[in-house]
């Protein structure tokens, strides 16, 4: 399963201003990473009162079902562990009755046989009902719990701001929502009841054997502590061995996955031999880990059976001692032998389960801890109470002395001051790391700023209901990101109530209609995962249509043409004029014609505006912009460029 985990983290997450959140606030989730970037398989504390306390509210809505499940569990334990006792009792009475050989005793024997036989049959029926009820109840509670927990986590994750996503790997978050909740659910339903039923079972066995015969009971129960010790020691090794197995196979699968994804490079670089050697190594390691685990696994049953045979032998010896002395009648000896050998056979299961559940408890606690880690992460950006709802957006944007950093102490924008009129188009120019993307990310309040104010139509962003703002604002990113579903659904993502006509108009306006209509299913073509069945250019055209269908007043294009092919770029270039017309826009682009056509060009360096003006003004000024502009077409300054890239990467 690990092979798809985190596979989708590419693209935007590391791309913000080229600065990957590395240090800082994320102490919580940075440790304990496994080999594939996921959380380590680990064992937590067995019992954590605080955690348990937080879990109880999830059960309360189902308390009646829980109580019924509890009753069913008790019934189940009694019905599964009582029969040997009844059989021993019955056998003794019947053998005695037969031995006495009087008409009354024979009648009694017939009656006894019927009575005990029916009792056992009745127990079988009761067991069936109890087991069924228990499973129905725990199934219901458990799956409900899964649904509620997952839905809750999903909702919470969506409230978290982008800074959370900048520093967390998707695979890790995924595993918390998909697998950790399952461990927790198992613990809270079957896990808990199993432990209960095992403890009950052991208790019943102990009571029953003491009722049958205290001396024999003591003798046979003497093996239980050994059984426990053996299982606990075994479990310690086994848990580790199984974790190693999981890691080994994860590495093997990751390697296959990587090699298939990169098969073109492998073949062109003639790496087949080397790779196979490496893989063979990993594959062999995996086999070895599995065999180590197999040895442990294979050792359980033999040792358990030897222990139970020891108990059986002791029982037989003691019965022999007393029977040969005449202290026991034949009936007693026979029935005791039957009852005890059957009970000895049943010791093992509850003991093993309790030990296994102990490990599960540890894992569940670790899982619960990770789940609450997510749920406890405070959303950084929330609408204030009584937030202003914007009915419409005119498109004025003011940055007033904005200070901003992703990581404390590493400023990205310093005293950024910019006032944009409605309908004005602004081109942001500057090197990677200059803070261009940050400016665009702040307009829709993806992050909160540390100083100054940002106003839209004169309202401070922190006082506006965010959804009412983004309703009239669209973004096109460098990497087109599409969702599974049809092309139509993807375009409609920009405005959910857009009619089919609106969708098609938007597609036409950006020039996406041409290729869409050539597809067999047209607008109803289903996209594979993230639109892999379309070219990057085609995906970007769809995300342009998606942006346009929202009828935005403010439009942000963040290197939107950087990864598309020239053909698509031409289409987009042609559509750009209509798209930008009458809209406030922030454009980050490399294409000179795009930059030139902006109303104003903002040249940024190290989080500050160094120049501002239109193309002609800036060329005339012969400053940073003119230098940048020239650089594309000259070979001068190679060393400068290299050091500059290195310098901005270092930041």
């Amino acid at each position: 399963m690990a092979y798809w985990g985190g596979g989708g983290a590419g693209g935007w997450s590391g791309g913000i201003g080229g600065q990957r959140g590395g240090r800082g606030a994320q102490v919580d989730m940075t440790n304990r990473r496994g080999i594939d970037g996921w959380d380590y398989d680990e064992l937590g504390k067995v019992y954590d009162t605080a955690l348990i306390g937080r879990l109880i509210p999830f059960i309360t809505p189902h308390k009646w079902r829980a109580i019924i499940a509890l009753i069913a569990t008790v019934t189940l334990s009694i019905t599964s562990y009582a029969p040997p006792f009844i059989m021993a009792l019955a056998l003794e009475r019947i053998i005695d009755a037969v031995a006495a050989d009087t008409p009354e005793s024979l009648d009694q024997a017939v009656a006894d046989t019927q009575f005990y036989g029916l009792l056992l049959v009745g127990l079988a029926a009761l067991m069936f009902v109890a087991a069924m009820v228990q499973r129905l109840m725990t199934g219901y509670i458990g799956h409900h719990l899964l649904r509620d927990l997952r839905s809750m986590m999903f909702g919470h994750l969506n409230k978290l701001s982008l800074s959370f996503y900048d520093r967390e790997e998707v695979g890790r978050i995924m595993s918390r929502v998909t697998s950790d909740v399952v461990t927790l659910q198992e613990l809270m339903t079957s896990g808990f009841l199993n432990v209960l039923s095992d403890i009950l079972g052991l208790t019943i066995i102990i009571i029953a054997v003491y009722l049958l015969d205290p001396v024999l009971a003591t003798v046979s129960l003497a093996v239980i502590p050994f059984l426990f010790i053996f299982m606990v020691v075994w479990q310690r090794y086994a848990a580790r061995a199984f974790i190693r197995v999981r890691q080994a196979i994860a590495i093997v699968n990751a390697n296959i996955n990587e090699n298939v994804s990169g098969v073109r490079v492998v073949q062109s670089m003639v790496r087949e031999e080397t790779n196979l050697e490496h893989f063979d190594n990993l594959n062999e390691q995996n086999r070895q880990m599995n065999l180590d685990a197999a040895k442990l696994q294979a050792s359980v049953m033999p040792l358990v059976e030897i222990l139970s045979t020891v108990a059986t032998i002791f029982v037989l010896l003691v019965i022999g001692l007393r029977a040969f002395d005449g202290a026991l009648t034949g009936a007693e000896a026979g029935s005791l032998a039957l009852g005890f050998t059957l009970y000895i056979q049943r010791f093992f299961n509850p003991v093993r389960d309790i030990v296994l559940q102990y490990t599960m408890l540890q894992r569940a606690m670790a899982g619960a801890h990770r789940i609450f880690e997510v749920l406890d992460t405070e959303p950084e950006i929330v609408d204030p109470p009584g937030a202003t709802v914007l009915d419409d957006v005119e498109g004025r944007v003011d940055f007033e002395h904005v200070k901003f950093s992703y990581i404390e102490g590493v400023p990205v924008l310093r005293d950024f001051d910019l006032h944009v009129e409605p309908g004005e188009s602004i081109a942001l120019v500057g090197h990677t790391g200059a803070g261009k993307t940050s400016v665009t990310a702040l307009v829709n309040r993806s992050y909160d700023i540390q100083g100054g104010r940002i106003l839209v139509d004169g309202h401070d962003l922190t006082t506006i209901e965010r959804a009412s703002l983004t309703r009239r604002m669209s973004v096109v990113l460098q990497e087109p990101y599409l969702f599974s579903g049809t092309i139509r659904e993807n375009i409609r993502y920009g405005r959910l109530d857009a009619s089919d006509e609106d969708v098609e108009n938007a597609a036409r306006a950006v020039g996406a209609d041409e290729f869409i209509e050539q597809l067999n299913e047209g607008y109803d073509t289903v996209l594979h995962e993230r639109g892999q069945n379309l070219s990057v250019g085609q995906r970007q055209l769809i995300s342009f249509a998606r942006a346009l269908v929202a009828e935005p007043r403010i439009l942000i294009l963040d290197e939107a043409t950087a990864t598309v092919d020239t053909h698509t770029e031409q289409i987009i270039q042609r559509a750009l004029a209509t798209m930008l017309k009458g809209r406030t826009s922030f454009v980050i682009a490399h294409r000179l014609s795009t930059i030139r056509s902006a109303d104003r060009i903002v040249v940024m360096r190290a989080g500050e505006i160094v120049e501002i003006g239109n193309h002609d003004e800036l060329m005339a000024a012969d400053g940073v912009y003119a230098d940048l502009y020239r650089m594309t077409f000259t070979q001068a300054g190679s060393e400068d460029v290299l050091t500059e890239e290195a310098a901005s990467a270092r930041r």
């Binding site: 590391g14 053998i95 069924m132 899964l146 994804s261 098969v263 990864t563 990467a649």
Partner: protein, 587 residues
């Protein structure tokens, strides 16, 4: 190993079966609990055993337990070993095959499909060997002999006990067979849920930009809801079946006990025998129920095995000839003679293409998407084979030389640069694992990426990919250039279809490229005007044919298809350059 596991299997089953019998023997003969008819015709139960017999019985019991332990251990371990070794071989075979299969295969195959074969299907086959073959034999022997013993001890009670076997086995098989599709359905739903989740998380910027949180929540809730209903349906189904099987088993204990007691009373059975029967039934519970499980494994292994062999047996259309010689490249002349190519018969991709690239020349390929540019460069290293015509490097047909020597002599920088999850150093020396650090650094310098690498906290040991530094497209491309430089190929293929990168990156790539192309015969799929202008030949392609051929100036004058492309896609760059020149901006 096969022999050893069969031996262990036989030993384990024999001694497993012996245990209840020995316990019964110990009770009946050792203790001598005997119900007999005395002289006056009355039944009496007496203890007639003696220490000697009891010790013998106990000794046998102990020996059997130890022996059985050893056999069971050996049997379990050997079965696992057999299965694991087989899975190991399969994985190696699959890996090897996948690496050797040509592009034609990988174009069609989906990675998810391949992965599920290499993981779940291999696991299915392993389970079959381990659980299916070996375990099945064990279960069959155990069940047959145990019930055989019971029936021969007391036919009436034995048959009553046996009556439950088909009932349990059939019910268990039906359940597992019916559960399988349901489980697959649930797995599918889980996949869908994970997909929505993953898309939401990776697309968080888009979700936030459009404030689609509520919409996403609805999508997700719909999936978890489906999952709930489907899982609960399964739970209800199992809630009946599992208890039913348990109940039937307990019922069989009860009925056997009942009938057994009647038989004891009639003097046809002993207490020890009844105990043995109960022990047999307890012992048989798991094996009998596992018959259903095993049948399911058979069904699964059947399809899994077929899918695994589909990969292992897949034949690559590009095969090396048996008498292939290593390629000798002295000059680096490349000729395409009358080359045609198609993926499937009715849609030709290349039609009778002739190309001659003189040693050291740069050949630029230009044309719209689907015109056949990529096919030209993919045929050269034999990622595909032409349907007609031939391709020669220094006079040697590429199909007559060894694949390794061919590909080592051809360096390729793909458009979509794939880097491996490893350090930058290892990525650069991917094609030459024995390259020294100095060589790696020299290549990185020539590729104009050295300074950037040095600026990283761990320098050349910085990890790239999933868990490491995220490189920009331009940086990845330069790493790929360094990687290719290190190989020092005579012939070079550069697929450069990315439109615009930032000006600085563009500049650096140009420089790196110039270093790379020096002295090599180069095929470039070009988008940058500069590259096209500097090429020795420009091949303009449309619909699989070369429609124009020449150099920039004369093609521009000719006013054909090249002119069109220039006007639409390249002029912008040219004008910008011109305006810079006009302003006297060049130092």
């Amino acid at each position: 190993m096969m022999f050893a596991s069969i031996f262990a299997l036989v030993g384990a089953s024999a001694l497993t079966i012996a245990a209840p019998w020995l316990t019964g023997y110990a009770i009946d003969t050792g203790l001598g609990v005997v119900t007999s008819i005395n002289l006056s015709g009355d039944e009496v139960t007496t203890v007639e055993g003696d220490w000697g017999t009891l010790w013998v019985a106990i000794g046998l019991l102990a020996a059997a337990a130890v022996g059985r332990g050893a056999f069971v251990y050996a049997q379990t371990y050997l079965a696992e070993r057999l299965g694991q070794t087989m899975a190991y071989d399969f994985r190696n075979d699959i890996y090897e095959r996948l690496q050797r299969l040509s592009y034609a295969y990988h174009d069609k195959a989906e990675i998810g499909q391949i992965m599920s074969r290499a993981t779940q299907d291999v696991e299915g086959v392993r389970m079959f060997v381990n659980m299916g073959v070996i375990r099945f034999a064990y279960v069959i022997v155990l069940v047959a002999v145990s019930y055989g013993l019971m029936i021969s001890t007391n036919a009436k009670v034995g048959l009553v006990a046996f009556a439950f076997v088909p009932l349990v086995a059939i019910q268990a098989s039906i359940v597992t067979m019916r559960l399988r599709p349901i489980w697959l359905g649930i797995q599918d739903l889980q996949g869908q849920m994970a997909n929505v989740l993953q898309e939401n998380l990776t697309g968080q910027r888009v979700v936030k930009a459009f404030s689609r949180t509520e919409f996403e929540q609805q999508k997700f809730d719909a999936k978890v809801d489906d999952l709930f209903h489907e899982s609960y349906r399964t739970a209800r189904f199992q809630a009946f079946n599992e208890p039913f099987l348990q109940g039937v088993w307990l019922l069989s204990l009860a009925v056997v006990f009942w009938v057994g007691v009647i038989e004891i009373r009639a003097g046809n059975m002993t207490a020890g025998q009844l105990t043995a029967f109960q022990l047999y039934l307890t012992l048989m519970q798991v094996p009998v129920r596992s018959i259903g499980f095993i049948i399911n494994i058979f069904a699964r292994a059947h399809s899994a095995g077929a899918r695994v062999f589909e990969i292992v047996d897949a034949r690559s259309p590009v095969e090396e000839r048996d008498d292939a010689e290593p390629l000798e490249v002295a000059r680096g002349e490349v000729r395409f003679e009358n080359v045609s190519f198609h993926y499937d018969a009715d849609s030709p991709v290349l039609k009778s293409v002739d190309i001659t690239a003189e040693p050291g020349q740069t050949v630029a390929l230009l044309g719209p998407t689907g015109s056949g540019k990529s096919s030209v460069v993919n045929l050269l290293p034999r990622f595909y084979d032409p349907s007609e015509g031939r391709i020669l490097i220094d006079g040697q047909d590429v199909r007559d030389v060894t694949l390794d020597s061919l590909r080592t002599n051809i360096g390729i920088v793909q458009q979509d640069v794939f880097l491996f999850i490893a350090s930058i150093r290892d990525n650069i020396r991917y094609g030459r694992p024995d390259a020294t650090d100095e060589e790696v650094i020299a290549a990185a310098k020539a590729a104009r990426i050295h300074e950037f690498i040095e600026s990283q906290p761990d320098g050349y040991d910085t990890w790239v990919g999933e868990r490491g530094t995220t490189l920009s497209g331009g940086q990845r491309q330069r790493v790929a250039i360094a990687r290719t430089l290190l190989l020092d190929p005579k012939v070079l293929i550069f697929d450069d279809s990315t439109a615009a990168v930032d000006m600085r990156t563009e500049f650096l790539i140009q420089e790196a490229l110039r270093n790379l192309m020096r002295g090599r015969t180069t095929f470039v799929i070009a988008q940058r005007l500069r590259t096209v202008m500097e090429a020795d030949q420009i091949l303009v392609m449309r619909d699989g044919e070369i429609v124009e051929q020449g150099q920039h100036d004369n093609l521009l004058e000719a006013g054909g298809f090249y002119r069109q492309i220039y006007d639409l896609e390249l002029r912008d760059q040219d004008e910008a350059a011109a305006s810079v020149l006009a302003e006297g901006g060049v130092d």
